[in-house]
């Protein structure tokens, strides 16, 4: 180490420092540039096709008449059901693992496996959904099947982020609560959860914004592509935005490629709104907790 500090080598150290900085800046330019190029391409080909009737029409064989009404309703239905499955179960699991399970061997194995599940390719969940929800439980190719599959897919993300948020709550807060005679449930509900809510909400929203863009598991469970009515209940057949995009992009006619780009814009808008909501929530509640 001492040799490195000698005067003769200090200039090479500085060069290396510069080089590393340049490398990092290069990496940023590369990734942002690719993203910007992609966005620009989508905006240029998609923006002209965005019109009111694009939102109120069903799919059609004429690109200029085709719309995403069925896809938007399907996506909204699926996402609201997914949220109502994965939020309570995910948060309850995280609470159990962090507050109740302790550090037993079993709990450690479960935690490790949940973290691993977050990395399983989405198509695997598609197979699972097809086998269990569509075939075994006979939910058919319904919104319910799609939502349950998606809930399974994002559940690990919800659990892990909720676990982290709960773990970040200082132990002193819990101990203060116990000192006042509160039970574990009272402490969890009145002290830990309110303190962790911003982290949990952020995790949930980011998990849902992953689910909204997933295509492979939906195609696997057999969500449909052409459908000229909106779902009227959890057992109704449905289509979703990513499937509609996938279908249009593989058509031979260039007109379909443009409306696919327009649908991509709508999907991006959804994801943008959700991510913005996540960061606003985090911001607001972090401040709230201080006063």
């Amino acid at each position: 180490m001492n040799a490195n500090l000698s005067a003769g080598q200090s200039s090479t150290r500085k060069v290396k420092d510069r080089l590393f900085q340049a490398l990092c800046i290069g990496a940023i330019i590369f990734s942002l540039g690719a993203l910007a190029g992609l966005l620009l391409d989508v905006v240029i080909s998609g923006l002209p096709s965005l019109s009111w009737h694009f939102f109120t029409n069903f799919a059609s064989r004429f690109p200029e008449k085709a719309g995403i009404k069925a896809a938007i309703y399907g996506t909204l239905w699926m996402m609201s059901l997914t949220a109502s499955f994965c939020i309570p179960i995910g948060i309850a699991t995280a609470i159990y693992l962090e507050e109740y399970a302790g550090d037993s061997r079993l709990a450690r194995i479960i935690k490790l496996n949940i973290a691993n599940l977050a990395g399983v390719p989405s198509i695997v969940y598609g197979f699972l959904g097809l086998a269990i929800f569509v075939r075994m439980l006979q939910f058919d190719r319904s919104v319910l099947s799609g939502a349950l599959t998606m809930a399974l897919l994002v559940m690990p993300i919800v659990i892990v982020s909720a676990q982290e948020a709960i773990r970040a709550v200082p132990l002193s807060l819990r101990e203060g609560s116990y000192a006042l005679g509160a039970t574990r449930w009272q402490t969890t509900r009145r002290v830990v959860l309110p303190a962790a809510v911003s982290g949990i909400a952020t995790g949930v929203i980011l998990a849902l914004s992953r689910a909204i863009g997933e295509t492979a598991p939906l195609i696997m469970i057999g969500a449909l592509t052409f459908i000229a009515f909106v779902p009227d209940g959890p057992m109704a057949p449905f289509t979703a935005l990513p499937i509609q995009i996938f279908n249009w992009i593989s058509r031979p006619q260039a007109g379909f490629h443009d409306i696919a780009a327009a649908a991509v814009l709508v999907l991006l808008l959804f994801i943008f709104i959700m991510n913005a909501a996540a960061s606003i929530l985090r911001h607001r509640y972090d401040r709230r907790w201080q006063d």
Partner: protein, 342 residues
């Protein structure tokens, strides 16, 4: 009914459920940081309203017309035709709910032979094991030809020598273990440049059909080519590579006529006439729908299939395929009549 006290002015924030005093629930906060609880009944009412809003937007229901469901799945090649037919059919019969999936010919047959769907779109005839599967499950079906497709072999626009190839030459290029590397290997006098091959992936019905009629056995093919399930990727690849060659459905060629050169096979160039007459041989292929016979007894399904055959000629051409001759559609209708329906 609503017990909440809403602030009279200023921005209102809704909080997450939190406890304040003896109340737990959603809280409203106004600009002066005054809190008021959002009553459970108000929240419930809002949720109910949302549900009604979501579910109340169903399509118009035709009280007098046909009602029911028509479940379709299968080939992505046939999808555009069936989509067009369904689109038109729903305009006439809004009470019937037609759904079309995109599982591929094989994936669709799995659902069809287990009775999950009424109709399967197919870009190849049913295989023997699929027929057995259907028999095992007691599913009887009928095969209807709805249009033609002509697999097109295309090269780059700048390619001015490969205008015609024989089936044998194509086989030499695409067969398993093919030794062809350059154009010169195909025919003497063609340039000594490396060929870049593009073709569909092995899951595609196009691949199944091409390998069967050109290489002599289904699924037998060389595999050192750029494969994509998305035909547009193949089109782009061939447009950008001077020495590219590839094959895909006719619609992808006819939409990109200005940017690609098509190869005549055995001296016949694919176009609507040669594909329809079968003169473009052996790459002209029929497209089918398979209909469950038991489902056909349902009024709405019968109406849908009749409507399909009546309009397939016009609609299939509109989405880039080649229609059958008029008499051939009549023959398909006769197949239906033969079942002794109405």
């Amino acid at each position: 009914m609503f017990t909440s006290r809403l602030p009279t002015y200023g921005p209102v924030w809704v909080s997450w459920p939190r406890s304040k005093g003896k109340y737990t629930g959603f809280w409203l906060r106004n600009h002066r940081n005054k809190y008021s609880i959002l009553s459970k009944s108000l929240v419930t009412a809002a949720l109910i309203l949302l549900t009604i809003l979501l579910s109340g937007c169903g399509g118009p229901i035709d009280e007098n017309g046909l009602k029911g469901k028509v479940k379709i799945d299968g080939s992505s090649t046939v999808f555009p035709i069936t989509e067009a037919v369904s689109e038109e059919f729903q305009l006439e019969h809004p009470g019937v709910r037609v759904t079309v999936g995109l599982s591929g010919t094989g994936g669709g047959f799995k659902k069809f032979t287990s009775g999950e769907t009424d109709i399967n779109n197919a870009s190849r005839p049913m295989k023997e094991e699929e027929v057995e599967q259907a028999e095992e499950n007691g599913i009887e079906f009928i095969e209807l030809t709805v249009a033609f497709d002509g697999l097109s072999v295309a090269v780059n626009k700048d390619n001015d020598f490969a205008k015609n190839m024989t089936s044998a030459e194509l086989k030499k290029v695409w067969n398993r273990g093919s030794k062809i590397k350059t154009w010169k290997d195909i025919r003497r006098g063609w340039p000594n440049r490396k060929i870049k091959l593009f073709g569909p992936g092995t899951d595609s019905g196009t691949f199944d059909y091409f390998t069967e009629v050109i290489n002599g056995k289904e699924d037998v093919s060389r595999n050192d080519y750029t494969a994509s399930e998305d035909d547009n990727t193949l089109v782009l690849g061939i447009m950008n590579e001077r020495d590219a060659m590839g094959y895909f459905g006719y619609a992808y060629y006819s939409e990109n006529k200005e940017n690609l050169n098509v190869i005549s096979v055995n001296g016949v160039k694919p176009d609507n006439e040669t594909i329809r007459s079968g003169e473009y041989e052996p790459l002209s292929r029929p497209l089918f729908i398979y209909v469950n016979k038991e489902s056909l007894e349902r009024e709405e399904l019968r109406a849908f299939v009749d409507f399909y055959l009546e309009n397939a000629a016009f609609l299939s051409e509109q989405v880039g395929y080649v229609a059958l001759d008029k008499e051939d559609y009549v023959e398909e209708v006769n197949k239906l009549e033969g079942l002794g329906g109405d």
